[in-house]
Amino acid sequence: MSVFFHLLGQGVRDLFRAPWSLCMTIAAITLVSFLGGAFLMLVHNLDLQIGARQGNVQFQVYWQPQTTTEEVREVWAGLSSMEGVVNVRTFTPDQALGVLAESFQNSVDMEWMKGRSPLPPTALVECELPAEDGKKWAASMVERLRALPKVEKVSFNPLQVDLLTSWVGLTRMAFWPVTGFLLVVVALVVGNTIKLALLARREELEILRFVGASRAYIQFPLLVGGAFQGFLGAGLALGLLKLLHNGIEEMFNVPPLWMTISFLPPLHCLVIVATLAAVGVLSSLVALRN
């Protein structure tokens, strides 16, 4: 048992004997797994969006600009009890102004318009489409919304769902080729590092063999080295990805998208780390065989 841990430590220590080569490898693995992770995050978020919006459709309702807040609040109260409605977001003229300002990243000062907002009260009504005759139902919904007091205009965009679906189709198609390609790159990089390490230590490994070291004794630390590189690279990449995520989390949380980017779930993170460690081991094995 103590030999096992000794060899485990040996594998990691041996890597640090060539710190530059280790740095370059880790950098390459980090870069590649960062790209892969970012791609996974994209797929994950598209999936979430399609899951949330599948079969749903949004109606944007605009009231006449002169409508008073009291008048419109009364109507809003009744919106969510309408048939098929799953979610309602409402905006008073001032709130709409706030959202507009936010979408300009607050670079335009609209504070002075507070209370005199030229924007009308609006509502975003999200409805679940019935399984059949969705188009017809949507048309009738438009009619019903338009019939509400003081409503000026109702618009809805059935394309939104179609567009999202085609995006998801595209990423699904690209998923395995992209993942495969990135994994091959990682395998080549790790394999090459191990091969260089083998070359630099040829004499030492030969001596180990001559004094009676078993094949496992010699190879195990090298495999640990491969796993460690994959592990470290993947860990760093996930850290960077989290930083990126913090930066862009709220970026698309503006009209009309209203989507928060979510980070990869823990299971995905675990799979990424485990896969890269496994690729590290495999490519070390291949380097050893040759």
Binding site: V3, E203, E204, E206, I207, L208, R209, F210, V211, G212, A213, S214, R215, Y217
Partner: protein
């Protein structure tokens, strides 16, 4: 301990060993002499599996080298220790680390390693250098490290290729005393050497001679050599 019949070895076109027949019993002490280039090193390298058996049959310490696969060679090497002509020690590591290496790869506990290495270093007058890196040692000292590493595991068979090549008379004789001690405890020993003095010291030992890849029993005057 060693049984060889009709063994030949060629490097490319060059014949290094020719139809060698050789037997060595357990506990025997054999000097292998012969001029430079006669094939002594080649012969020893085959015996511990560093070179493959090309032709003939070779059996060492109970292992049939004709069929022993690469992944089981470490078992042979745990019974057969070698002192290499070029030492093959890790020059960037300490004397202690080098001598401890064969014990470490056998998974022997640290405190036993410590005791055995110290004892061997003492008997080879290297104890004061235990913590020096080997690159700071003289040729003779490095040679003694190589010998210490070979004997520390108490091998069944010890193959020593010119183990006194870099030593003065005094140290050569001390080295022979150590070999003799191990021999008394049952280790079979084969020493390749040009050194007549050490052969005379062990006057009872068996001598075989390699000449141009051919093996003869006894000390054959060859005229050449070093």
């Amino acid at each position: 301990m060693i049984t060889i019949s009709k063994m030949s070895y060629t490097f490319g076109k060059q014949l290094a060993l020719k139809d060698v027949n050789f037997c060595m019993k357990q506990g025997e002490f054999v000097f292998l002499c012969g001029p430079s280039g006669a094939g002594k090193t080649t012969f020893m390298r085959i015996l511990h599996g560093a070179l493959p058996v090309q032709r003939g049959k070779v059996d060492v310490a109970g292992y049939d080298l004709n069929t022993l696969p690469e992944r089981r060679k470490h078992l042979l090497r745990r019974d057969v220790s070698v002192v290499f002509q070029d030492f093959k020690i890790l020059t960037n590591q300490t004397v202690f680390a080098n001598v401890a290496l064969p014990l470490k790869v056998r998974g022997i506990p640290r405190h036993i390693i410590e005791k055995r290495v110290r004892a061997v270093l003492r008997s080879l007058h290297l104890d004061h250098k235990a913590m020096s890196p080997c690159e700071e040692l003289s040729g003779g000292e490095q040679q003694r490290v190589a010998v210490a590493r070979a004997v520390v595991v108490k091998p069944k068979l010890l193959l020593a290729d010119e183990p006194t090549g870099n030593l003065d008379y005094e140290l050569s004789m001390r080295m022979m005393d150590i070999f003799q001690q191990f021999h008394k405890f049952g280790t079979s020993i084969m020493i390749a050497t040009h050194n007549r003095e050490i052969m005379e010291r062990m006057s009872g030992a068996r001598v075989v001679t390699l000449h141009d890849g051919v093996m003869h029993e006894g000390c054959v005057e060859t005229g050449g050599g070093l």
